[in-house]
């Protein structure tokens, strides 16, 4: 079963929502890389389900089942569930008649180790499995937000301090201005990348255009596989026997800054952003938190994924009114 685990295996930022009347609280991953809402439920009795808080529809006076089942081929395994409707409270925003996938069979045994009880997708409705209306779309149609946008701040260190805001940006979480770029495909939060620089030198690798999906449900920075060799060479990383790219921890400050050019603005990633320092049995080692993808974007251009590695450096704003993504330097 573990072969199906990928993106979600490394995710670490979770928050609470509540469902039903009276409200039942669950921890979810707020995922800009998917569009469905699903949670553990009492319909499921597998070992993985039993390891988490489960939503019990029988204890909710506002729940209604719709009799449909759903299959979600998530990147972390396949979820089977029943669909139903209930009230969902997201930070005090009360969304009524929200369609919810209630698990009947959980993805896979590794989910025993997951610290979240469900996933709340924040991408566009076009990619929603089963035609489920995403939470954000219901917030918009029920006129629950000041501005139809949401924004993420992911803290670089410590367990606390990260936040997701709905309806407006939090000025205290970024500095300078927000730079906007249009969404190129209203499926995921996909944007165009016009340049990629190493230490300020343009590589021309994206001169014919690259795409990037901004995805809070992916931890690493993901690079097109055809660029990986050159990136690792520039970083001076050596591949370990386990396939990880390693660098000498004492040399981190000498490693190059990687920059993306998006709508005319360069967004630098210093080595501290893409190098992960770990301690194991008293031994410190440093790995490069950049993974390859062998798949292109839907339009055939090289595909990057801006996961948490990028999003810890840049406060990110997702604007549904104007279909644009904004980035500003995170505090």
């Amino acid at each position: 079963a573990s072969m199906y685990i990928n993106n979600y295996a490394d995710t670490t930022y979770f928050g609470a929502i509540s469902i039903g009347t009276p409200p039942q609280s669950l921890q979810v991953l707020f995922d800009t890389g998917s569009s469905n809402l699903w949670v553990d439920s009492t319909y499921c009795n597998t070992q993985a389900c039993n390891a988490h808080t489960k939503f019990d529809p029988q204890q909710s006076s506002t729940f209604s089942a719709n009799g449909q089942s759903v299959y979600l081929p998530y990147g972390a395994g396949s979820l089977y569930g029943q669909l139903g409707y209930d009230t969902v409270n997201v930070g005090g925003i009360v969304v009524t008649n929200q369609e919810i996938g209630l698990s009947t069979q959980e993805p896979s045994n590794p989910f025993l180790a997951a610290k979240f009880d469900g996933i709340l997708g924040l991408a566009y409705p076009g990619i929603s499995a089963g035609g489920q209306t995403p939470v954000m779309d219901n917030m918009i149609s029920q006129d629950l937000l000041n501005d139809d946008l949401f924004a993420f701040y992911l803290s670089r260190g410590g367990q606390q301090g990260s936040e997701l805001s709905f309806g407006g940006v939090d000025n205290s979480m970024y500095q300078g201005q927000i730079y906007w770029t249009p969404v190129t495909s209203e499926t995921y939060w996909q944007i165009g990348v016009q340049g990629f620089q190493i230490n300020g030198q343009e590589t021309s690798w994206c001169s014919q255009g690259c795409q990037s999906i901004v995805d809070t449900g992916t931890s690493s920075l993901t690079a097109p596989s055809q660029f990986m060799g050159n990136i690792m060479q520039a970083i001076g990383a050596q591949q370990s026997q386990y396939g990880m790219y390693m660098v000498d921890c004492s040399q981190i400050n000498n490693l190059p800054t990687l920059s993306f050019v998006i709508s005319g603005t360069a967004f630098p990633l210093p080595p501290s952003a893409y190098i992960e320092q770990q301690n194991q049995n008293g031994y410190q080692f440093c790995s490069v938190n950049i993974n390859p993808t062998y798949l292109p974007s839907q339009n055939g251009q090289p595909l990057w994924i801006f996961g948490d590695v990028f999003l810890r450096e840049y406060y990110s704003v997702y604007d549904r009114t104007n279909n644009q993504v904004g980035f500003a330097s995170a505090v």
């Binding site: 685990i5 990147g75 499995a129 606390q160």
Partner: protein, 41 residues
């Protein structure tokens, strides 16, 4: 309405299982966006 939801950072599944000696194999992250290919992988 404008609201802020605190997010907490936890151990990932990979870290938790790694501490128990269980390794999660690497899989292409972009397969997430190609569910049909993913289902057949």
């Amino acid at each position: 309405l404008k609201v802020k939801i605190p997010l907490q950072k936890h151990k990932s599944m990979r870290e938790t299982l790694g501490e128990k000696g269980i390794k999660i194999p690497y899989q292409d992250p972009a397969l997430k966006y190609y569910p049909e290919q993913f289902a057949g992988s």
